[in-house]
Subunit: 167 residues, 4 copies
């Protein structure tokens, strides 16, 4: 039985409202202490798409030596959130309402890549999907699958949103 | 309108199969590099219950200064996983199959406490609930709500489970 | 090992914005053809709480004779939605953004009771929890556990909301 | 902004263990009273894939006239469950452990089609994704997105599984 990953490609069809969407994502990611602490780097940003990469190491492991499920969740939550953020207006920031993640295989290998894909952008909410793949010896294994709801925080530019957070 | 938290208390009714359940949780937690990296500490272990605490600081923040949703997810995933693990036989280890988390309020304050509660232990799967509360000025605010599925990995003691991970 | 259900009681602390919340829920429930088709009845309505009951029968079964997971989902989704709706202003209707449900035991017995509990009401979103219990021979078994996100549809009274549904 | 659906195609890569997988799905679906009651029909079965169709009508509506979220959940839960079941051995039946569904647009139109896709089959658990599309005037709108965990019930052929249901 083959274990093919689901063939969901980043859609080319999204048109960002803000032409500086990539710079905005990079600036916001750079403010995330948590991503720096765990060693995550922004690997790709496109309209409705974001990829975040992480090299497994003991400091981010759980008790069996794999990358901790919560750390896997952290990078795929961020990937989904920034995928959504690429399509938001310049005056809005992004908050995660909720996410759900299935873990499909041990998170080990040379590199983990978390990808977020916008499924539906909306005026108030945006829905994304996420995948985390482990790369090892030229092969990719699907490690986690995510589904996420984001809130568009209108009138709160991302770098001045510290007083926000009310649903 | 009052924002009362759901009154779910840790049940006194669970009987662990392994009398050394608390030592096992402490030893396993101590092997989690990820919990150490983010600064999480094991705050309480009882049959079917586990609490993990974390002090917010810039190193674990997202772009607005709150604790990153993924870090909140990491502590509540661990709390739920260890709550389940307290009821497992000595020869079994624990893996997260999936979890779903809603974020209800910004994760800020003096201390975050993630609590995991076993809802149903089973031979193959265990189901837990989780809550994360922010403590500030003597008040507690419900910050996140979680629901989780765990797998009982029979025949793989927790400290020798590194070859495991197959569903 | 005892299989105690989580002790979450309906909170007495919620104050409805609309004193006619119970009549509104009853009128809305009566318009749900789906609840009538499957034989569900409104069993209880209180501030931040709703219970819906259903008698198992072959017409709502899956292939093994238990009540279909989707039908269990339908009653607990409605119970959560109406629990939230009790706290909405009179000019707003309710939409389910998403829900997640774990099935814990076969849905059989004399009666199923789905209960929805508000965890956090908000201006735009409301978060609820749900439980489905099977009653048989004077005993209650926890059959399903749910977590749900609702949207408050401002300016769309429930009986005139047919043109709504945009996120 | 275009609202493109995620381009996940049914994978051609799955090899069923049981050559009579389609007959098994059809026989099992025919035993689901709930699918008959709501008017759902089996539209397609392929290895790792299943589609279930439903014509919206007042008997399956919620209070605003759309198909009830729970009914949408019922068809996509069944589509995911049978997608997984196509890859199970002949001696096993299928149970839903949990599912999570986002509702993206009102479920109205000429026909709803729920599709289930296997993401990862395993010995004990299988993970699927689901989509529900509304067809209207030759157009398809993504109405719901699902993620699901199934249990492989070994030693319990689907037509003799009525005593099962233990996790």
């Amino acid at each position: 039985m083959s274990h093919a990953a689901p063939r969901t490609l980043p859609s080319a069809h999204w048109t960002p409202q803000n032409p500086e969407f990539a710079e905005r994502v990079r600036a916001s990611f750079a403010r995330q202490g948590a991503m720096r602490l765990i060693g995550a780097v922004l690997a790709d940003v496109r309209p409705g798409y974001c990829a975040i990469a992480l090299v497994p190491r003991p400091e981010i492991a759980q008790q069996h030596g794999y990358v901790h499920a919560g750390i896997v969740g952290a990078i795929v939550d961020s990937a989904g959130g920034y995928a959504g953020f690429t399509l938001f207006p310049a005056s809005a920031s992004v908050l995660t309402v909720e996410f759900k993640m299935n873990l499909l295989a041990p998170a080990i290998g040379e590199r983990l890549v978390a990808e977020g894909f916008v499924v539906k952008p909306g005026r108030t909410l945006a829905i994304t999907r996420g995948e985390v793949h482990a790369e090892h010896g030229g092969k990719r294994t699907l490690v986690a699958l995510m589904q996420q709801t984001l809130m568009v925080m209108h009138g709160r530019a991302d770098d001045r949103a510290a007083a926000a957070g009310k649903s």
